[in-house]
Every structure is written in structure tokens, then in C-alpha cells.
């Protein structure tokens, strides 16, 4: 059957390009490894505590998000956000915290108006890694704010009103916010540069010898257990992106056209490509999980983990197939896929555990397959069994299958019309 020949050829291409293949698999591993190293050397068995001083002269949105993250019961022992005034500088000089985040007066106004402003991060030079984590987190926030201030101005106002209200926002309001966010997300790459919000990093004082909060070292495995699920999902999404993008490449280079001159039906071409996207995604995710095992991550019951791997591969394939089916060119496909992947990973808790995200984002997170995949891994790691993740498996497989079906149908229609 032609579908299997196509699958075979695609796999052969991964073998013939070992460099590219290695890179594809290595990126998520490297990201997870960097996180592991960043967090791994420090903290105690219960997790890592980052103490951040927040000097928010503006009572800003970012400040409230940070504050909110620290206040969550789930952040207990991981992140401590201490609101301070100007005395924070003095506290930093004493080495009281990993970093001081300073949001100047007029910050929110500037973000909303799109005028340049800066977040100041004062890092504790005695600590090697934790301040970097804070800085990275703030860079991420600044980037999102930069983009958001240009692209998401109306939505920002809505978010702001959610924060001001003391009751939980209406579901409908959240849903419409998420819909309009998705719409806007498409424009993101246009807005990311140049940044509106700059980051100014300052080291204070001289090195104070040992790290102030030096605690007994912790194994990398425990840290990986927190971050690898998310990065593995990010990784599988990127793999699926690369595999589905191939279909657009085929179309643009005339390969599809030529294939259809052979006794290959459009359906068997699509089946073959979907198979190879699935196989590559599942193999990639399996490899990332195996790498975690090698580093000492206890993923949980093997069968349940395998089920999540397969379901997440289906979900990733479906998502990317759908994305690629609506775009006109490989370049568009890449841009849209990257935006979808990054925003889903941010919203779905792949980078920051859902527990540390503000409550109003939780319903939005649940609309992403990333959330269902990441939380499935996390609950298995936390000691859950397959019964605990059945809903996750159902959502992932169902959503993914739907994506594959719709994506393949749309592409199939294009092929049948001869829009090659």
C-alpha cells in the first residue's frame, strides 16, 4: 500500500539526515536540561524556594500577576514574593533575596500606550542560578507584555477588569477573551520587535561567598520531574510541526503533484503522511521520556506512560495538521505553528505549572491540549495511575483525532480540487 511506502520514505529521510534529526530531538532535551541545571544545584527536597522582592511603584498588572503567583498555596515553598518599597534595595544589599524586581511608576500606562519603559531586576550576585531564573521569568513577562501592549490592548483591559472585580469572572467573558486572544495571537510575531518593555539587570554589592539560602543539593531528577513533562510536550509539538510542514513543502515543490501521477490516491497520500507524523511524534516523545528515565525521572506505571505518549502524539499531530491545513505556504505554516505552540505551551502550563498561574487563566488552560498532556504526565509522576488520567487520555486522543480528521479532510479537498 502506497501509504506505507510514503511512511517508509519519510522515516528514511530522518535517517539520511542524522544532523537535522538529532537537532530536532535535542532542542527540547537541552531546554529541559538547562532548567534542570538551573534549578538542580539548589533547593531542598521539597522544591526550590525563590525569594523575590517586588517593588511595584505602579500597582501594575505584571506586579499583581507575580504577587498572585507567590500567594498561591501551591507555590508554598517554591516562590515567595515579598512586596517591598524603596527599602528593598537595602534588603538586596544584605542578600535577603534572589532578586528585586522593580516596576517603575507609570509602568502600566506605558505598556498600554506602547511607550518604552523598563523593568529593573536587581540580582543577588552571591547566588548563581536563582536570580537568573527570576530574570528569565521577567524577560518572558516583558516579552509577553511587549507583544500584548501592541496586539492585545482591548483584551488587556478585560483582563485588568477581571483583576479589579472581586468575584470570579463569568465563563462567557473568559471564553470570549480566549477567543479574541487566539485571534490576536496570529499577529504576535509582527509585534514582538522592537520591545516596548526593556529589561535592566543590575548586580548589587560584591559576591558574598556562599549563597545565602544554601541548602542541601538536590538531584536533577526531582527538578526534571517538574519541568520535563512540559518540555517534552513542547518537543513533541515541534516535531509534529516539522513533520506536518513537510506536507506543505511537498505541495510547494510539486512532489504531491508528481505523487498523484503514480497510482497513489490523495487519500493514501494523506494516510501515509498522517502515519509518518504520528510515528515521528510518538517516537520523539518516547525518546524524551526515555531520556528522562535515564536522568532518573520516575514517570510512573509504564503502560499508563505509554498511553499518554501515544495520546499526546495523536494530539500533537492533530493540532499541527489542522494548523498546516489552513495556511497557504510553508512560511505561513511555520509562523502560525510557532505562535500556536508557544501560546498553548504558555497558557497550558508547559513552562509554568498550572498551579502557579493565576486562577482566571485556569479555564483557558483547560482549552489547550498542552494542559491535558502535561497534567497527565504530572499526575502519573505524582503517583497517580491510569484511572486518574483517563479523562486526559480521552481529551488528547479525541481532540487529536478530530484535528487529524478535519486537517486531513481540508487538505484532501485541496488535493481533489487540484490546488496543489
Amino acid at each position: 500500500m502506497a501509504a506505507f511506502q510514503i511512511l517508509r520514505r519519510d522515516l528514511l529521510r530522518y535517517l539520511r539526515n542524522p544532523g537535522r534529526t538529532a537537532l530536532l530531538f535535542a532542542i527540547p532535551l537541552m531546554m529541559a536540561a538547562i532548567f534542570a541545571v538551573v534549578f538542580g544545584g539548589h533547593g531542598d527536597g521539597d522544591g526550590i524556594t525563590i525569594r523575590v522582592l517586588l517593588w511595584d511603584e505602579d500597582d501594575s498588572l505584571l506586579g499583581r500577576l507575580l504577587q498572585g503567583a507567590g500567594d498561591r498555596p501551591e507555590s508554598e515553598g517554591r516562590l515567595e514574593v515579598v512586596p517591598v518599597g524603596p527599602e528593598g534595595v537595602e534588603m538586596m544589599n544584605r542578600g535577603d533575596a534572589s532578586a528585586l524586581v522593580h516596576l517603575p511608576k507609570g509602568f502600566t500606562r506605558a505598556v498600554i500606550d506602547g511607550t518604552p519603559t523598563a523593568i529593573e531586576v536587581v540580582k543577588n550576585p552571591a547566588q548563581r542560578f536563582l536570580p537568573l531564573v527570576v530574570e528569565e521569568g521577567v524577560v518572558l513577562g516583558a516579552t509577553v507584555l511587549s507583544a500584548g501592549s501592541r496586539a492585545l490592548r482591548p483584551e488587556l483591559d478585560v483582563i485588568s477588569s477581571f483583576l479589579d472585580a472581586d468575584h470570579r469572572p463569568e465563563d462567557a467573558a473568559v471564553a470570549s477573551l480566549s477567543a479574541s486572544f487566539n485571534r490576536r495571537a496570529k499577529q504576535f510575531d509582527l509585534y514582538l520587535f522592537p520591545p516596548v518593555v526593556r529589561l535592566e539587570a543590575v548586580d548589587v554589592g560584591a559576591a558574598k561567598g556562599e549563597e545565602a539560602s544554601a541548602k542541601k543539593p538536590q538531584g536533577i531528577a526531582a527538578v526534571l520531574s517538574v519541568f520535563l513533562p512540559g518540555f517534552a510536550i513542547l518537543g513533541v509539538l515541534f516535531l509534529a510541526q516539522s513533520a506536518t510542514r513537510d506536507m506543505l513543502h511537498d505541495r510547494e515543490t510539486g512532489v504531491v503533484r508528481q505523487l498523484l501521477t503514480a497510482p497513489v490516491t490523495p487519500a493514501s497520500y494523506l494516510v501515509g503522511k498522517c502515519l509518518s507524523v504520528l510515528v515521528v511524534s510518538a517516537a520523539g516523545l518516547g525518546l524524551l521520556v526515555a531520556a528522562g528515565v535515564a536522568a532518573g525521572v520516575a514517570w510512573g506505571p509504564p503502560l499508563a506512560v505509554a498511553a499518554v505518549v501515544v495520546a499526546a502524539a495523536v494530539a500533537a499531530s492533530g493540532t499541527l495538521l489542522l494548523v498546516m491545513s489552513v495556511v497557504g505556504s510553508e512560511r505561513q505554516g511555520d509562523a502560525l505553528a510557532t505562535i500556536v505552540i508557544m501560546s498553548w505551551c504558555m497558557l497550558g502550563g508547559a513552562f509554568v505549572p498550572l498551579a502557579q498561574m493565576p486562577a482566571f487563566l485556569h479555564p483557558i488552560a483547560r482549552t489547550t491540549l498542552v494542559y491535558w498532556a502535561t497534567s497527565a504526565f504530572s499526575s502519573l509522576i505524582a503517583g497517580g495511575g491510569i484511572a486518574d488520567i483517563l479523562p486526559n487520555l480521552a481529551v488528547l486522543a479525541g481532540g487529536g483525532a478530530l484535528g487529524i480528521a478535519i486537517g486531513a479532510a481540508v487538505m484532501g479537498r485541496r488535493l481533489a480540487r487540484g490546488a496543489l
Partner: protein, 309 residues
């Protein structure tokens, strides 16, 4: 035999192929000759079953390719205008994959691949990735892919565009050999010389319509000229054209600023009578040359334009 019946296809408002009918007889090489944008590729894509016609049908040995695609496609070999090979696979990988789509496998597949590679002169590059190939090598590989399953019908879309004379000779030689072996060939080109040299019959297509089909002799006779006069001088404007047209036995094929082309009917007064008439008409005449009728003059007489853009 391939029978093309009243094919029509438009893209938006543009009618790319308009009521095209012709047939490719068993064992012949039929040339489909036309300028850029004439509708050659669109026609070929509809014949090979990748582009659905708006109306009309294509029969291959009596079977409609759109009704029985997989049956018919087994017997077709198609070499597209754009080279479509996997650059990150080797030449051998590409051929093996392609052959497997036609049900070839094992030692038979390997033999066919080897045979094909040496036929197009790529045997020593079989294990190299196509990425490292020149344009001409890729085209030869593409031709090889179209021939691998020994199709009974070979459809080629301008297979010699943009390659050096050496590679071009190789490709034409291969096609001649295939045709000599009994394969029916539809050869698309905008090179008159190729159509003249290679093809048993030629169909001329322009603006999506078939203007005429026949052997070279038939076409030149059909165009009706014994001789074509190419005049150099000033012939711009409707008045100049009228004056030329007024000369007995002359048909104006083309008249412009720098030159004009006249066809002089075989049974008429002849060249010797026409030239004095041109001089007497008061038009500025710098030079005259006489051309044997060829596809160029046929094309001009049919369209009023030269084939070359």
C-alpha cells in the same frame, strides 16, 4: 491511445485550457507546442490525472483516467516541468521509493533502478544526495523516475528547459529510444526545433486552444504558403499593413515597426512579382529575406505572433 476530449479548465476568470481535443496514437511522439502560458502544463496535468478538468474527459486506451485513476496511472509515466525529487534522499532512494509505488520490489526494483541510472548517465552518482546535483542531473533523474515502471504512455513537460546541450541530447536520445521500444509519447515544448526534430506529429496550442494538429509537412502545407518573405524596414501603422495586403497573392502575417512577414501563395504571381510591388507601394524597405516555411511561419500565420516571447 490517449484521447483528449474537449478539455476545459479555468482558474478564476482565466480560461487556461479551452475546449482542447486531440489524440496521441499508439507508438507515436506527439509534440504539444506552444508559448509560455499557452496551457501546456495545465493540459498535461489534466491528462495525467492530477488536475480535475472543469469539463471534458481523457481516455487512455478507452479508460477514463478520472473514473479509474489507479488502473490508468499504472501505465502512465509522467515527467513534470518542475523537478520534484526529494533533495535530502539519494538518487537511488528516490528511484526505489518511486518504483515501490508501482509495486516493484526486491531484485527487480534494484535492476530497474540500476538500468535507469546508467541510461541517463547517473550511475556513478547513485549514492549521492540529490541536493548535490546540478539542474540537468535532477532533470535526468526525474526522467528516469518517469520511465522506471516501463510505462506504455510517457508524458513529458518541457524536459529540456534550462539544461546544457549535452544533457539535452542525452534526454532526447532516451526519449527516442523509449519511443522506438513502442512507448507512446506526449512531448510538451516551446522549442520549435525540438518539435520539428523529435515529433511525429505536432499540436500547436495558444491561449488554451489547439490551433492545429498534424505532421510537419501537413502543418506547413495547411498554412498554405509556398514561401515566406521577411522584410526589414518601416511598416508601422494600419496604412502600411493595408498597402502590403493590397498586393496580389500576398497575405500579411505580421507588420510592425522594424519588420514584416508576408506569405506568398504558391499558385500566385510569385516572389518576383511581389517585390517590385512592395517597392512601388512607397514603404521604406531595407532588406528582404526568403524563408522556407517552418513551424515558426506556421505559428505566425495562425496567430500573427512569433512563437518566441
Amino acid at each position: 491511445m490517449i484521447t483528449v476530449e474537449r478539455l476545459r479548465r479555468s482558474f478564476g476568470d482565466l480560461v487556461a485550457v479551452d475546449d482542447v481535443s486531440f489524440e496521441v496514437r499508439d507508438g507515436e511522439i506527439l509534440g504539444l507546442l506552444g508559448p509560455n502560458g499557452a496551457g501546456k502544463t495545465t493540459t498535461l496535468c489534466m491528462i495525467s490525472g492530477v488536475l480535475k478538468p472543469d469539463s471534458g474527459r481523457v481516455l487512455v486506451d478507452g479508460r477514463d483516467i478520472w473514473l479509474e485513476p489507479t488502473v490508468v496511472k499504472r501505465h502512465l509515466g509522467v515527467v513534470p516541468q518542475e523537478v520534484a525529487v526529494y533533495e535530502d534522499l539519494t538518487a537511488r532512494d528516490n528511484l526505489s521509493f518511486w518504483g515501490s509505488l508501482y509495486g516493484l520490489s526486491g531484485s527487480e526494483l534494484k535492476e530497474r533502478v540500476d538500468e535507469g541510472l546508467s541510461r541517463v548517465g547517473l550511475a556513478d552518482r547513485a549514492g549521492d544526495r540529490v541536493k548535490s546535483f546540478s539542474g540537468g542531473m535532477k532533470r535526468r533523474l526525474n526522467l528516469c523516475m518517469g520511465l522506471l515502471h516501463r510505462p506504455r504512455f510517457l508524458l513529458l513537460d518541457e524536459p529540456t528547459v534550462g539544461i546544457d546541450p549535452q544533457a539535452r541530447l542525452n534526454i532526447l536520445e532516451v526519449i527516442r529510444g523509449v519511443a522506438a521500444g513502442g512507448t507512446t509519447v506526449l512531448y510538451t515544448t516551446h522549442y520549435m526545433e525540438e518539435a520539428q526534430e523529435l515529433c511525429d506529429r505536432i499540436a500547436i496550442i495558444d491561449h488554451g486552444r489547439i490551433l492545429t494538429v498534424g505532421t510537419l509537412d501537413e502543418l506547413t502545407r495547411l498554412a498554405g504558403e509556398a514561401e515566406v518573405l521577411r522584410l526589414t524596414g518601416g511598416f508601422a501603422g494600419g496604412e502600411a499593413r493595408d498597402r502590403l495586403q493590397a498586393i496580389a497573392g500576398v497575405r500579411v502575417l505580421q507588420a510592425g515597426d522594424g519588420s514584416a512577414m508576408l506569405s506568398v501563395a504558391a499558385g500566385g504571381p510569385g516572389l518576383l512579382a511581389v517585390l517590385p510591388a512592395v517597392l512601388a507601394s512607397g514603404l521604406a524597405l531595407d532588406d528582404v529575406s526568403i524563408q522556407r516555411p517552418n513551424l515558426q511561419s506556421v505559428f505566425i500565420s495562425l496567430t500573427g505572433r512569433e512563437l518566441r516571447d
